[in-house]
Amino acid sequence: MSRSSEIISAALLALFMSATASNVALSAAAGTPIRIGVLSVNQGPAAAGGADGFRGIAMAVKEVGGAIAGHPIKIIEEGTDQTGPTALAKVRKLVEQDHVQIVIGPGSGDEGIAVSNYADRQPGVTFIAGIAAGEAETYHHPNVFRFAYGDGAQWVAGLGRYAYSTLGVRKVATIGDNYSFGYAQVGGFVSEFCQAGGHVPKELWTPLGATDYSSVVPQIPSDTDAVYIALNGADAINFLTAYYAQGGHAKFIASSITVDESVLSAKGSIQNHLVGVASAAPLADTLEIPAWNSFVKAYKQHYPSGFAYPSVWATGYYTNAMAAFTALAKVNGDLSGHQQAFRAALQSLTYQSPTGPISVDGNRNGVFTNYVTSTQHGPNGTLLNAVVKSVPNVREETFLRGGVATPTHPACP
């Protein structure tokens, strides 16, 4: 009878109870907490890496003693599942409900697109990418910064040339996760490899989180010298299992995340195929610089049950948080006036990160040193990435000459 209206009344009543009318603007008085929201992945194939991202943030907060210029740092964490909708819902909650002034994150390409797009609706908040590395993500978004580590094409700077001239590879097939970070990782390699004179007859794309690659393997031409694999975490393990089960024999070259710590610490026979694999990333386990060594030491001390070495997640989130804290210290924690002083400090900052100096270009995107690596046996039977070449001052515009990478661009069949 009055059923329908009762239902709606019940729902509205529930809402009244949950509604919070606190919408107090935060002043910049000394001692006011600086509220920082952190987005990282805590579900799906990248969850192990995402947890390391939160560790990186905790290390940075600890390093500055939990406060900047007398302002305590208040960190509010939210976990995502590597998709745009979840990242968007979480960032809305952080900004509109928790009233954070700075967002650090997210950690994955498509999430980055959704969050950068949302940043336009929140001009008063500064967004610093976690390690989301889709191309051109900071373009046209004046409140979005990305120190560590620019876009996914920059992460493989040096690898295409290394494959052509040092490994002597001429024909490469590629397989990538079908999303913005995968496009960038393949695009970065292909553009450099093609410029060096190589050919890429086949570019394959598979959905993120695919488990069965057995139908993809036969599509790899048999006369390729090498397969370039731009799959992440569990995806890479699944592909390699299928590839070797079907008698694959080509050399393989890995993108930045294929042989990262989460894969290197994978157990089983897969490990035998992971020795001597070339890849490139903004960091490497055996980096011989003091800042890296002390960062690794601190990481192992705080997180004995973490990865063998801090992953790109821990290092990237740590670096972005420390860049933010350094800039905040320069302006004495002043976030008034639409954060203009803070943003100017970020723009002019060169932060000495664990992996080398890092700054942002005119589009607020990272300029940093990239490392070409090769996997080697470490102590206690573990595997690690050893540096074979470093590429300083990697800039995004190098890779954006022909436009943002897509499944069909760049190409040289």
């Binding site: 009878m1 009055s2 059923r3 329908s4 209206s5 009762e6 239902i7 709606i8 009344s9 019940a10 729902a11 509205l12 529930a14 809402l15 009244f16 949950s18 509604a19 919070t20 009318a21 606190s22 919408n23 805590n42 579900q43 939210e78 976990g79 599942d81 998709t83 745009g84 909708p85 968007l88 819902a89 979480k90 809305r92 909650k93 509109e96 409900q97 390409g109 498509d110 697109i113 959704a114 950068s116 797009n117 949302y118 336009d120 609706r121 889709g134 079908n178 999303y179 913005s180 496009y183 959905p207 993120l208 897509t406 499944p407 069909t408």
Partner: protein, 329 residues
């Protein structure tokens, strides 16, 4: 006191107070609650209503509604962002595209029933998902199309919490009202006849197939409306808004509200928005919490919130009847 005046006035009073609360609420609640719980719930309820409408009146449980909603969202984004079509043109285009897509789907599925209907519509929903992910030229692959903005009406931006809430909730209310009234017409009664006894209806000269096709197409238009409001809310559309997880999200809203209750979708959407938003503040395993809520509903209140409220109502009426001495009226 009021209850003794009889059913109609009690009912209208409940409606009026609900309506009043819906109007006052956004001015009392924070802008976060207004936009990210209420407005989100309002447009989500529209999509869920297109599901519940088909289930309740047509006996069709369709998993394709999220795909059709996606066609609406994508059409708006492609027209408005990709081709610079003014918003009203893009809205019209989106609704036409969603309706045509629904008509096409309807012609494919109208002859199937029960579990087969469910499976075919699930497949169609996922077809839309995979088309958007692989058709880079049109839909920009998995990154999707960002930069979608709701229009300005004069000086009012529909991206602002209160205007967005009133737009979404009044459209949702209009859809609820329209469907309820439509189901009282001859068409509505015939559709329900087709649901209950298709053989008898056929014998009486009704084209059961046509009724099912029309109902499915109509539900598709409604999902398309949800698609436009949804893409305005999100500012972006991408394949991950149409994947299996989101199909289950909308199904969860419908189930929590009750598959037999159009009004219940509002309660379902609000509960779902609250649980998803706040559970993650307490635990990383918020999906488990959502799963448990769903499980509890299915086990203890199979009719959802809608069913629960009507059951409690019936209990109360029974108790009142037992308490009240012989009527003097």
């Amino acid at each position: 006191m009021i209850a003794f005046h009889g059913a109609p006035s009690g009912r209208s009073l409940a409606w009026c107070s609900t309506l009043l609360a819906a109007i006052v609420l956004p001015f009392l609640a924070s802008s976060f609650v207004t936009q990210d719980i209420l407005a989100l719930a309002a447009w989500s309820a529209i999509v869920a209503m297109s599901m519940v409408f088909l289930s309740k009146y047509g006996g069709m449980i369709s998993f394709a509604q999220v795909g059709i909603y996606g066609v609406g969202s994508y059409s708006f984004a492609i027209l408005a962002v990709g081709h610079g079509v003014p918003w009203y043109g893009a809205v019209a285009g989106a609704l036409v595209a969603a309706t045509l897509c629904a008509l096409l789907f309807a012609l494919l599925v109208a002859r199937t029933y029960g579990i087969y209907f469910l499976m075919v519509t699930l497949a169609l929903g996922l077809v839309v998902y995979f088309l958007t992910i692989s058709n880079y030229g049109l839909t920009h692959g998995s990154g999707g199309i960002p930069g979608v903005n709701p229009p300005h009406l004069g000086s009012i931006s529909l991206a602002q919490p209160i205007p967005e809430y009133f737009l979404d909730s009044s459209v949702a209310f209009a859809v609820l009202l329209g469907l309820t009234l439509l189901m009282r017409t001859q068409f509505g009664l015939a559709l329900q006849g087709c649901r209950d006894n298709p053989r008898k209806m056929r014998a009486m000269g009704y084209s059961v197939m046509s009724y099912r096709v029309i109902a499915f197409t109509l539900a598709g238009s409604i999902a398309g409306i949800g698609g436009v409001l949804g893409v305005w809310y999100n500012g972006i559309i991408a394949p991950s808004y149409l994947d299996l997880t989101r199909i289950i999200d909308f199904l969860a809203i419908a189930v929590i509200g009750g598959m037999e209750s159009l009004e219940g979708t509002f309660a379902g959407a609000i509960i779902y928005a609250i649980v998803t938003t706040y559970a993650s503040s307490f635990t990383d395993r918020y999906n488990t919490v959502i799963g448990l809520v769903l499980l509890a509903i299915v086990m203890f209140a199979p009719g959802g919130v809608g069913g629960l409220v009507s059951r409690v109502g019936a209990r109360l009426a029974l108790a009142k009847a037992q308490l009240t001495p012989a009527s003097t009226e």
